[in-house]
Symmetry: C2
Subunit: 414 residues, 2 copies
């Protein structure tokens, strides 16, 4: 995937350790029978952070989600560490809360902080009691291995069926100081975010109040993670947190000024790119699909239409088959709960080798099937829809629906 350039922002390495003062580590504690794969990670800031989070809207919430929300409420938006595991979601278990709290205690005791200053998250199978011993026996090793370059080990530890880790970070200036903002995320099924998605952790060395951080996070979630769908199933464990430790030395951002806009943009860049990575690495996916809806009445309409297209299983299958069956795009546009005039809708399909129009004013137009095959043969496909009824625009991201999605999910528990 190529990263789009933005003025004033430079992509850098380092993920969750790109910002000053953040250490990380990851290891295999035994949840994952494949010893080559990490399943437990710890991220810690040298100093206390202002923190913000968004969580699943599913009525079934993993115990770690409840604990993390409670912790941030109790501290008034302060946190110093994250502990997270994969392979078991610790959800729908009678002793779930107890186990999630214990994970916080274990991390806190090593870091000499309060348990409520720890963000805890779990991902994996729902409804299987999580054994806590693996964390207890590995917490020393996990803590001792913390390092300012441990981001990749941590990013590996939160992967489930992801085929690759997802890390993005940017560098930018605030008050003449060099700031950094970076994060890691995991996919790759049960992805249909509603206020947050899966596990995503972002860190920054900028100084910003918890309130402003929450505001920037909520605004950007709407146009990034919430515009992603892999399969329409919203997870019970969705958690996205941002921690800001202020070590870059800018004056703390406490209102919607130019600096707020800059850090909000940095958040957008990191979150949008992780969103695209999540889409491209959806379970079984062979293609990243990006739907851009323009000339909409308002942003909400544009989002609803773009998501309807990205969510259509028939469209997703057609993309897997590299078949320009655009009628399914129109069908999905028509199913969207948005005000629009179907007789004004234009649709183009594009990839890096070129673009072709398939629909003008709601009716089909001739195109070369050969050229269509060439365009659809690429890994990243863009569906550009113009509603011709306003000035607003939004994007949504997804992936194709493939044999492998069915295979992966036909027997996920074993």
């Amino acid at each position: 995937m190529e990263f789009k350039e933005f003025d004033g922002f430079k992509y850098i390495d380092g993920g969750v350790c790109a910002a000053k003062g953040f250490k990380a580590n990851g290891l295999n504690c035994g949840y994952n029978p494949d010893k080559e794969k990490n399943d437990l990670c710890l991220v810690a800031s040298d100093v206390m952070c202002n923190a913000a989070g968004v969580y699943t809207q599913n009525k079934v919430k993993g115990a770690p989600v409840i604990v993390t929300k409670n912790n941030l409420a109790q501290t008034g938006g302060k946190a110093k560490a994250i502990i997270a595991n994969s392979k078991n979601a610790n959800t729908c278990n009678v002793d779930g809360m107890e186990k999630a709290l214990r994970m916080c205690e274990l991390a806190a005791s090593k870091l000499d902080i309060k348990p409520c200053e720890v963000i805890v998250a779990s991902t994996g199978v729902i409804g299987q009691p999580i054994p806590i011993e693996p964390v207890e026996t590995h917490i020393d090793e996990l803590y001792e291995g913390l390092s300012y370059t441990g981001n990749a080990k941590a990013a590996n530890a939160i992967m489930t069926t992801d085929t690759s880790p997802k890390e993005v970070a940017v560098e930018f200036e605030l008050d003449g100081k060099i700031c950094h903002l970076g994060g890691m995320g995991k996919g790759s099924g049960m992805i249909h975010p509603n206020m947050a998605t899966t596990l995503n952790f972002i860190t920054t060395d900028a100084a910003i109040s918890s309130e402003m951080l929450q505001k920037a996070l909520t605004e950007n979630v709407k146009i990034t993670y919430n515009c992603l769908s892999i399969d329409g199933d919203q997870s019970t464990n969705d958690t996205l947190t941002v921690m800001a430790n202020g070590l870059c030395g800018n004056v703390e951002i406490t209102e919607e000024d130019e600096n707020y806009k800059k850090i909000s943009k940095a958040l957008y860049i990191v979150m949008m790119n992780i969103t695209k990575m999540l889409a491209g690495d959806g379970e079984g996916a062979t293609k990243l699909l990006e739907c851009t809806v323009s000339k909409a009445k308002d942003v909400d309409s544009a989002i609803v239409v773009a998501k309807s297209v990205i969510c259509s299983p028939l469209f997703k299958c057609a993309m897997f088959g590299e078949d320009a069956n655009w009628g399914r795009i129109l069908c999905a546009v028509g199913n969207a709960n948005a005000e629009l005039d179907i007789d004004k809708v234009d649709v183009d399909i594009a990839s890096k080798v070129g673009a072709f129009a398939v629909c003008k004013n709601g009716s089909g137009v001739d195109f070369s099937e050969d050229f269509a095959k060439t365009v659809l043969g690429e890994k990243e496909i863009h569906i550009n829809i113009s509603l011709n009824s306003g000035d607003a625009q939004a994007q949504a991201w997804g992936c194709d629906l493939t044999y492998d999605y069915v295979k992966i999910n036909g027997d996920y528990r074993s």
Copy 2:
């Protein structure tokens, strides 16, 4: 699939010709390159019928949907014939209305009725202009072959990726007269009804006013077709009509009396069974899934929860894999837009060989994985969910998500 028995109703053969005075025929006119398969059908009543219909809520509507709605409005709910084709949906084409009207004219001219007395429907690929010549050159043969036992030929003509035709009919008494009500339907992808599904045609020889027929149809659609989902994609061409010709000799039903309840029940039985047939024959399906939600606060809550489960692709994949991954059922329950207390939810999984509990009060309970495999090895799987917060109940139907769904839809147009 076994038909459930209902007191006072007897299952009979005959489908759309089960009711007195209805003739049908179907043939291959050339839309389907496989000459063994029919693609055009005609159904005609000996006398004028009261008629009712429900249609897709997609903003993109097939031209035949618009024409049929206009026709029934123009005649005040009267119709005498149906003409329908498969392989081409006649949707998103600049000349769609012209072609749909021409189909009505061709049928009407042979039957010596007005074009507006004809119900027209098309199903198949969206966005490809439909050639009208095949209908023009075959209308004589289609008309001449009309017969009181032609129902199977007609049921075959509306099939797309269906693997079998779908016909159900029942016999019951009204005013001491033997009445009949039967119908045919087609699936099997782009199925996520909202007020109607795909193409379904029902006929009866009972006498009932158009208003009461519309009322009974609308009531029953809510708890049958609208509780079906194959893939979450609502078709542009959904059309369901009922025609009542009164030939059985009962006194015309004009109010909500006992006879209304009886014919409404007959409609329910036929529609519910066709719904189950559609679910079991969903694209690529190997299993019929029936989700029953009981002890809900109200019927709407029960429907929303049952549909959320039936629509979850992860749950559908697990059923394909015969994997009792019940956490996905809880996840889908939690995602439903309904008022419920997740800590009260019980879930059982059953098939004809037995049942086992997977969740009690929102948490997992132990079960034998071996027995679970045996239960899930069957073709018809029942998910029984008790919300323990009221007295209402509803059902929804769907199917598993399989490799073949992806295969069929990866290259549907060719």
